[in-house]
């Protein structure tokens, strides 16, 4: 960039003055802190998780109880006191929350984005957008309480067999929570679609409906998909709402069977909170299982974030 060259030309002679060096290194250290954070998350989670598994524990010099990797990944029981650490029930519960919240948030979020970017007047937009921000700003512990105290009893009227703790109400509040994320990222993508395309559509005699669904949405598809992935990764990592509303009993449920949403189960994040609020001894097997779940969670969300980034980068329509 020409202005960059100009700036470096202008500032080159003073660059090594002590004052400049000092401030530059301070700012640099601040930026590097983010890398230090990532590295410490990765190192911490992998070393602690390594102490948990039988295969890797000797490498870490850990003696005593460990768990087998195969049992962890394929076991269908999560009973800490019995020493059974099968992660599948937790993963299935997390999957249910993800599917359930996706059913609510993805269509509503995209519809909101279309409305905001194509239909709403500037005045309506200036009122709706802060209101949507409030949806995302309410603490998750409050959403969990809402699900347990107000939404579950309301659902009980329609579905009498629903449990006090159930996946349905948890999915609903998580869905509401992530609507703003889908809406705002999708809306950004839709606003970036050039007006010429819309005008070309109108020129061909298309209605507003045709232009929105036939031109704007396809053109913004990569942004919409990346908003889906980011929002779902947020749903997977969501903790307090599911801890309060989904229950504390680990159970292997079939995520594709609608009836299982009436039961309670234990998602991964809730299992971590339960491990810590229960009595666990520091350094024990249960303590280390915490990091094994944490690693699983971190890897899933990291992969989703990277995929979302790649989708947004590589499939973006350039105009």
């Amino acid at each position: 960039m020409s202005t960059d060259d100009l700036e470096s030309d202008l500032t080159r002679r003073t660059e090594n003055a002590p004052q400049e060096l000092l401030t530059r290194s301070f700012f640099f250290l601040c930026a590097v802190l983010s890398i230090v954070t990532t590295v410490s998350i990765v190192v911490l989670l992998t070393t602690e998780a390594a102490k948990f598994f039988t295969i890797t524990a000797p490498l870490m010099g850990v003696e005593g109880a460990t768990a087998s990797v195969v049992d962890f990944l394929t076991g269908t029981d999560w009973v800490i006191n019995a020493g059974e650490f099968g992660v599948l029930p937790l993963v299935s519960a997390t999957l249910m929350i993800t599917i359930g919240s996706a059913v609510i948030a993805l269509p509503l979020g995209v519809a909101t984005a279309i409305y905001l970017s194509e239909y709403a007047s500037a005045r309506a937009r200036s009122m709706l957008k802060p209101a949507l921000e409030v949806l995302a700003g309410v603490p998750t512990v409050v959403y969990g309480f809402f699900a347990l105290i107000y939404i579950t009893p309301a659902l009980e009227v329609v579905l009498p067999s629903i449990g006090t703790f159930n996946m349905l109400s948890a999915s609903i509040v998580v869905g509401i929570m992530i609507i703003p994320m889908v809406a705002s990222i999708s809306e950004d993508a839709m606003s970036a679609v050039p007006d010429e395309l819309r005008q070309a559509g109108y020129g061909m005699g298309a209605t507003k409906f045709d232009v929105s669904t036939g031109i704007v949405v396809p053109a913004a598809l990569s942004g919409i998909f990346s908003s889906f992935i980011l929002a779902l990764s947020r749903a997977i990592g969501e903790t307090m709402a599911v801890t309060i509303a989904a229950g504390a009993q680990a159970k292997l449920l079939n995520p594709l069977n609608p009836a299982s949403y009436l039961e309670g189960a234990l998602p991964m994040t809730a299992a971590m909170v339960n491990l810590l609020t229960g009595d666990i001894t520091g350094g024990g097997l249960a303590y280390r299982s915490l990091f094994a779940i944490g690693l699983t969670l971190f890897v899933i969300t990291l992969v989703m974030n990277i995929v979302s980034d790649l989708v947004a980068q590589h499939y973006r329509e350039e105009y």
């Binding site: 500032t11 002590p18 989670l45 409906f209």
Partner: protein
């Protein structure tokens, strides 16, 4: 498409013209609107329910409502309607004054709490004096001896600051005479308020008027502080209320009255609203009408947790949240802004910069429990800190919101026009001088907005605090960085899960939720107001 616009070449185009169906478009439009409103309406309904459970408006006497209707609602409605037709700008000014008073009252509650139970005013004065002496020393060094090379000046300044912070407090501490607590708070906070008000007056009416107004304000605050105990308010809260809430609101109103004489009627509107509240309160008291039996009451705000829901309160959790907020702000603001400045102003366009970039956006997506694990593993297990203290809680939350602070600060810095930077370089300024004098001042409102929103996220976080072992129930306020801390959302979670009796569900939890949401929404609205003003100017 169902609208019939994409008729193919084989169909009867002449007949298709003029028959574009509007139904689909209209139905689609209203479906979109319904989808947009779904989340907002659901949340609104839930909020009405929780407010009803917490405040119980139906338990009040009909006479109570009637009184307030006559003194508050009716006059406000009439005055508002008249102003909305004649002079909407005045109505906005009046509503703004009422809003500023409400938010600043909330804020002064938090500040008063800090001085009553967390930091003793004497300690506060000690450190304030030491810091003032230190900074005076640094300014003197910077100003009077430009001949010293930069590094020598820097070292000298650092030494002066260190002496001021570590040696001076011990000396001041031994001083035999101290003003009373109320006077200390009145002098320090009131001094700042008086200086700001005086500056405003000086800008409008000249230096002498500024000095006079500032002096008057300080005297008034001190007099109010002394008079407080006579009307039943302790001197420290009285000083805080005056210097944080009443005087700034009054000064804002007075400034607006001078600057916008055509909108002065708006102040009358504010007077009608506030007068209505006061008259109504006095009237219901005199007539003996009982208000709603709200669970959010003085006792709830000032009690600690208790075994019975009716006596349980949020006080230690509120104090904990305030202290955590302060720690998080102190840690994340400089680090986040620093990183943003590096990435926007200094970083060369190479792979390493791109890597930091991707890394930050990925960190923003890491679940908060994982940050909790990071805090637990690094601070507790490896660094051997005790669990659940203010320091590690604040540090963990600061790491959590750091990516958000960085991303929003970068946006604010990117919004500074390049012409300004080039003009600064053209004058011979170095990069740091440009950042300090041009970029940061211009980007500051945007950075502040982003930081407040991020702090709002931190104040609502529960999972990381559970992970680092913050106690669910705490009976006293934390007084130093190494004492255990609870927080509002954590206390609400504890009531909702550990003390899962009917009583706690129906009383303590809704009340806690209402307090938490009021704090959060006022923080968010401050941020949104700041942003709107900033966008208007930019």
């Amino acid at each position: 498409m169902a609208t019939g616009t994409d008729t193919g070449p084989g169909t009867d185009t002449a007949g298709g013209f003029g028959q574009v169906s509007r139904t689909v478009g209209v139905v689609f439009r209203y479906l979109l609107l319904a989808a947009t409103m779904f989340g907002i309406v659901t949340l609104a309904v839930l909020l009405v329910y929780v407010a009803n459970d917490a405040i119980q408006p139906l338990t009040a006497d009909p006479g109570w409502y009637l009184t307030f209707f006559v003194t508050l609602v009716l006059p406000t409605g009439v005055a508002g309607a008249v102003l909305a037709r004649r002079n909407p700008a005045a109505l906005r000014l009046g509503a703004g004054v009422v809003a500023i008073l409400a938010v600043s009252l909330l804020f002064s509650g938090g500040v008063a709490m800090v001085f009553v139970d967390i930091v003793s005013p004497i300690l506060w004065l000690t450190y304030l004096l030491s810091l003032a002496v230190g900074f005076a020393g640094v300014v003197a060094i910077e100003r009077f001896d430009r001949r010293l090379p930069f590094l020598a000046r820097f070292g000298l300044s650092a030494a002066v600051l260190a002496v001021a912070l570590f040696v001076l407090p011990g000396i001041i501490w031994r001083s035999p005479v101290f003003p009373t607590d109320g006077l200390i708070v009145g002098l320090t906070l009131g001094g700042v308020t008086a200086a700001l008000v005086g500056r405003g007056a000086a800008a409008r009416r000249g230096r002498r008027a500024g000095l006079a107004v500032g002096g008057l304000v300080l005297v008034a605050i001190l007099a109010g502080t002394m008079a407080g105990p006579a009307v039943g308010v302790d001197s420290v809260p009285a000083a805080v209320l005056l210097s944080v809430a009443f005087v700034p609101t009054g000064a804002y109103a007075a400034g607006a009255a001078i600057d916008r004489p055509q909108d002065r009627t708006g102040l009358g509107f504010a007077g009608v609203v506030l007068g209505g509240v006061v008259v109504g309160a006095v009237a219901v008291d005199a007539l003996g009408f009982a208000g709603p039996q709200s669970w959010v009451n003085w006792g709830f705000l000032t009690n600690a947790h208790s075994g019975t829901a009716a006596n349980a309160g949020l006080y230690p959790a509120i104090g904990g949240s305030i202290l955590l907020m302060a720690t998080v702000a102190l840690l994340s603001f400089p680090l986040g802004v620093g990183a943003a400045v590096y990435l926007e102003e200094y970083a060369p366009r190479n792979r390493f910069t791109r890597f930091i970039d991707v890394n930050i956006s990925n960190l923003a997506g890491v679940p908060s429990v994982v940050y909790g694990l990071l805090g637990l593993g690094v601070f507790v297990t490896y660094l051997g800190q005790p669990t659940g203290t203010v320091l590690i809680g604040g540090a963990t939350l600061a790491l959590l919101i750091l990516p958000i602070v960085i991303i929003s600060s970068r946006e604010a810095i990117r919004g500074v026009p390049d012409d300004l930077r080039q003009a600064s370089y053209g004058m011979g300024a170095t990069r740091w001088q440009t950042v300090k004098n041009v970029v940061l001042p211009r980007a500051f409102p945007g950075i502040l907005t982003g930081t407040i929103l991020a702090l709002g996220r931190a104040i609502g976080e529960t999972a990381p605090l559970i992970m680092i072992g913050a106690p669910n129930v705490l009976f006293s306020l934390p007084t130093e960085l190494s004492s255990k801390v609870s927080a509002m959302p954590l206390q609400v979670y504890a009531w909702a899960s550990l003390f899962a009796s009917e009583d706690f569900y129906t009383k303590a939890v809704p009340a806690g939720v209402v307090v938490l949401l009021v704090v959060l929404l006022s923080m968010n609205s401050i941020a949104i107001v700041l942003r709107n003003r900033y966008e208007d100017e930019g």
